[in-house]
């Protein structure tokens, strides 16, 4: 390498380092708004605190796993086992339980409502609000209960299950590092950082269509893309996948609700 090229090379390296530093600073700067998901966090907070439904009650007494009404830190410990319903629930299936028990809505009816319609609109705000209250915290899903370990094993099976007209599995795209579709990086969901990026980024605001999506909508879309049958909102299959991804993301940082493509 000639001296002049060496100098240029060093200058490039320096510039690279500077821009990385600037990026890190911009990310750490909370005084800048850059994430439209925050609009849904505000809406969700309203929904959480406003009395609604046949029983005209708010969701403030909803138990998300850390006790009635505790929202902060609840998201990074979901899905988990709930003694009152005797099953493992993710954020959205747990919210359904609260909507039914506290406010008197029919959970099955809401689950059958298409995304972005009726009561499902409320759900978009709620998931943004609850996940936003755990922003920057590390995933720590409990695995002490046998049902939680069973769901992890089931989720792992579903992740690697190949089928459908294209003979696809989640693992076809998400079990190797450095894969992409066109310019879109595909996270490796079988390791911590990839799972934290993939699982810990949802709920998310999708810049491409201006919609707020919860994890349930995202997972159901994964099945659609694999040409699998629709597993259904808050179905056991999607919750099991959530447990598998969440436990894999253990120790990773939650950035939800994130801006996504």
């Amino acid at each position: 390498m000639t001296p002049s090229r060496l100098v240029r090379h060093a200058a490039c390296l320096l510039l690279g380092a500077l821009s990385l530093q600037a990026q890190a600073q911009a990310q750490a700067d909370t005084n800048e708004v850059a994430n439209p998901a925050e609009l849904w966090e505000l809406r969700g907070e309203d929904v959480w605190n406003t009395p609604a439904g046949p029983k005209s009650a708010s969701l403030q007494a909803c138990d998300l796993g850390l006790g009635a009404g505790v929202v902060k830190g609840a998201f990074v410990q979901l899905p988990r086992y709930f003694a009152d319903t005797q099953r493992v629930q993710d954020l959205e299936s747990r919210l359904l339980t609260c909507l039914q028990n506290l406010q008197g809505f029919n959970a099955a009816e809401i689950a059958a409502t298409p995304f972005g319609k009726g009561e499902q609109i409320k759900m978009q705000g709620l998931v943004a609000y609850v996940s936003g209250q755990s922003r920057g915290m590390t995933f720590a899903l409990p695995q002490a209960h046998a049902a939680e370990r069973l769901m992890y094993a089931a989720g792992k099976n579903i992740f690697y299950f190949r089928g459908g007209p294209y003979d696809f599995s989640c693992a076809s795209c998400h079990a190797d590092s450095g894969k992409r579709i066109r310019m879109q990086q595909l996270p490796n969901l079988t390791e911590r950082d990839g799972a934290a990026f993939g699982f810990g980024g949802w709920p998310a605001y999708r810049v491409s269509n201006g919609q707020m999506w919860g994890m349930q909508q995202r997972l159901n879309d994964c099945f659609r893309q694999q040409r699998f049958p629709y597993p259904g909102y808050a179905s056991e299959a999607t919750i099991a996948l959530g447990v598998y991804l969440g436990v894999t993301a253990q120790g990773g940082v939650s950035v939800a609700p994130a801006p996504k493509r």
């Binding site: 700067d29 005084n31 800048e32 708004v33 850059a34 439209p36 609009l39 505000l42 201006g210």
Partner: protein, 103 residues
């Protein structure tokens, strides 16, 4: 009533960087819904920023501005305690004004 805006300010010497995130559909009037019917145009067409009640910037917007728009601008001579207010009006006549105090 339209949803609340998120306004944040960051003071840098005498200047302040102001970021505003607005909740608005910003329909262009060109898209069609699932039934094939045109979705009517609905967008913010007047936009204004004031510093302690004095207009410091105003703008006329059109359909090309994105959904849930984010604006960011720099204001000169801003002190702690100053009030920055943003208002907009859309083509249906709906308005929203939100204010923030520079911290």
């Amino acid at each position: 009533m339209p949803d609340k805006m998120i306004i944040r300010t960051k003071v840098n010497g005498n200047n302040a960087v102001v970021s505003v995130l607005m909740a608005h559909e910003m329909d262009t009037g060109l898209a069609k819904d699932a039934a094939g019917k045109t979705i009517p145009a609905w967008f913010i067409n007047e936009w204004m920023a004031t510093l302690n009640g004095r207009t410091v910037m105003s703008a006329q917007w059109g359909q090309s501005v994105s959904k849930n728009p984010l604006t960011r601008f720099v204001l000169k001579d801003v002190k702690k305690g100053d009030k920055i207010a943003i208002s907009w009006r859309d083509n249906k006549g709906e308005t929203r004004t939100d204010e923030t105090v520079v911290a």
